[in-house]
């Protein structure tokens, strides 16, 4: 089971633009995994979208789910 992760904004400086991860059950374990791989990510603020829907709680991931990490932007 493969999960595609797309990263936006300045978070890409930490992780790059896209990631492929295997054997991830849900969004909470995905975030734990990412924080382990990229400790700098742990202190960053972002929302998580699963298959183009922003989620507010832990969400089960299906194979080939796309998860997006979207940080807030401040510039105008």
């Amino acid at each position: 089971m493969q999960i595609n992760v797309i990263i936006f904004g300045q978070l890409t400086e930490i992780t790059g633009n896209t990631l492929l991860l295997n054997n991830i059950e849900d969004t909470d374990s995905l975030i734990r995994e990412l924080n382990g791989l990229y400790p700098a990510l742990a202190s960053k603020k972002y929302v998580v979208a699963v298959d183009k829907q922003v989620i507010n709680q832990n969400t089960i991931l299906k194979g080939n789910s796309t998860v997006a990490l979207l940080p807030p932007f401040s510039g105008g």
């Binding site: 183009k52 979207l70 807030p72 105008g76």
Partner: protein
Amino acid sequence: MNSIDPYERYQRQVILKEFGEAGQQKLLQAKVLVIGAGGLGCPALQYLVAAGVGSVGLADDDTVSLDNLQRQILYTVNDIGKSKAVSAASRLQQLNPDIKIIAYNERLTTQNTLTLISRYDIVIDGTDNFSTRYMINDACVLLNKPFVYGAVSQYEGQLAIFNYKKNEDDPSVNYRDLFPQPPNDDQVLNCEEGGVLGVLPGIIGTMMANETIKIITGIGEPLINQLHTYNALNNQVYQVLLSARNETRSLIPENETTFIQTDYEWLCASSSFRKFEIDIENFNTLLRSDDITVIDVREPDEIPVINEFISEKIPLSQLKENLAEIKNNTIIFFCQTGKRSLQAAQWLFDIFGETKKIYSLRGGILQWKKQQAKQPV
């Protein structure tokens, strides 16, 4: 030949089938407030004014500087040093003298925001900082006004319409449903620190005008309850659906009175640093005590020069090497606006911990100077 066609100026859009004279009438009757006449505000204003929005308010307390001209396309070198609100309004009025344009050359605060927003139908957020953005969001929720949001960072932009329902029973979301709490200043870089490609706010600001025109005239499918992101480097767009969070309403001030009492700048300051901050009154009291060291962490050429009290000058860029030299037990840092001094306080705390009393002047020396002008010590 005298033209008496009231729609001549708008002819190219009036002949659009879905738009028509009815659409133009709706625009002419609409009142739109653009907050921030910067990278996003300039293009949004230009297109709204050109399209014939009947009343356009623009609020900005900043002045034009040379490094704005790369993306803030309403201004020229002749405007440098002048008020953005006044310069933009005069330029826009030349573009369309038939509509009403009102410039507000003032800083939005919790004291004036509700009154200002209540005079308009739609608010466009072209601000460049989180404290104003959360304040506008909360005000729009309290006043039930649609809020067209845009923001940029480096090569990427975000766009959404918040707090808007097409039908009474539809759900609506606001900015806090996306990001419930403001990030700390140290979590997200602004354009000053992170940079921005000039054309990017041009694209996003123009899209904000487009969404605004769509919700006024009722054409098309506005970006309601969705977040649209755009990447200028690879032209990729990504759109996600938003849904309401249960806790959102509890984060927004309950009513006008609690809104006025909310300190949005404070909410957006770095949470871990906040403990060091002292207000002007406490700062002035501490100045009179013995055994204190006041340290100015601004760079040598920064003004105003302070001679009202004694301070050591150690620019933030050289502070780390000099921290161990700081002998007194009570230290107050200050800088221009109170951000660098917070950083300085944190560094000193990392070395001395609780063994020294470490403070940072909230609002910086600029606020202090303003206060002194009102009531000298």
